[in-house]
Symmetry: C2
Subunit: 173 residues, 2 copies
């Protein structure tokens, strides 16, 4: 399941791109690469990408990683379920942690260990959330809302934007 995946690698350093391709080719069905992060979103419209390996230090010289976090957010805004694995400089764990809090699936420090990288990508792909049936996820969302309202059905209904009776209906199922 995870080995017929398409991986998109985004890094401004062509050497890294080549190394990644070398490491991942064979392990995954298709490896796409882009050198400029601006190319990521347009590419996602055209290609069926399953996971993105994203460098955190775009724009040579600017090493704050801010750029990388921005692109992470941009990707997640448009594709909330896309697993993104971060590529960070060695020892920049602090940045990686910020990335994880933003919702990245995992992170790998450069230089990486090939088999570890493959393993992490496979892992992230396996953890990729299933698309639930609409009614199941609706039920889950309703439970969350009621949870937050501490059982107050009227308030939960208002929050959810449905009538109280509908909430009762939906819960009966």
């Amino acid at each position: 399941m995870t080995d017929n995946a398409t991986i998109l690698v985004a890094d401004d350093n062509p050497t890294i791109l080549t190394a990644a391709r070398y490491c991942l080719e064979g392990a995954f069905a298709r490896i796409l690469t882009v050198q400029r992060p601006e190319e990521i979103l347009p590419l996602l419209q055209q290609e069926a990408v399953d996971l993105i390996l994203l460098d955190m230090n775009f724009s040579l010289g600017v090493n704050t990683g801010r750029e990388g976090l921005m692109w992470l957010q941009a990707i997640q805004k448009r594709h909330p379920d896309m697993p993104v694995v971060l590529l960070t400089a060695y020892a920049d764990v602090e940045l990686a942690v910020r990335g994880l809090k933003e919702g990245a699936a995992d992170f790998v420090t450069k230089p990486w260990d090939n088999s570890e990288l493959r393993h992490k990508l496979r892992d992230a792909l396996a953890r990729k959330a299933e698309v639930e049936r609409l009614d199941e996820m609706e039920a889950a969302h309703i439970r969350r809302a009621i949870d937050r309202c501490h059982g107050n059905m009227s308030e939960a209904a208002k929050l959810l934007g449905v009538s109280r009776q509908t909430l009762y209906n939906k819960m009966r199922r």
Copy 2:
């Protein structure tokens, strides 16, 4: 908004519990504490807890943190939106990272800096996801499904468990 919150602190060390209470009292509306993680879930049924500060090294002597991760998962299973901040031993960043990947909101290493702890809790509370209207979250879910099916409406409809026509209807809105 974040300062009228109820915080639940779970740690088997009473000293930590006292220290946490001392640090958080005043900054948040109500501080609850439990010494045994088994008490967490039952307590959540009774009390309107907004955030959990969870120790990772329960069961004295067993310091793998496994226990903590297990309780994190248990909490998230029942309360997917509950922000959980992890309390880890200093330098056990590896464990904290695993926790973040599991969905923890943040982590704090012991011994902590009081103002940093307060800040992180406030931050996590502020990031707490709003409960969306049912139709909005349905729309978002539908977009995800179509995204995953790369635009194939028939497949997306099957995945979502609704008829193709319904999918068309819902998208028209």
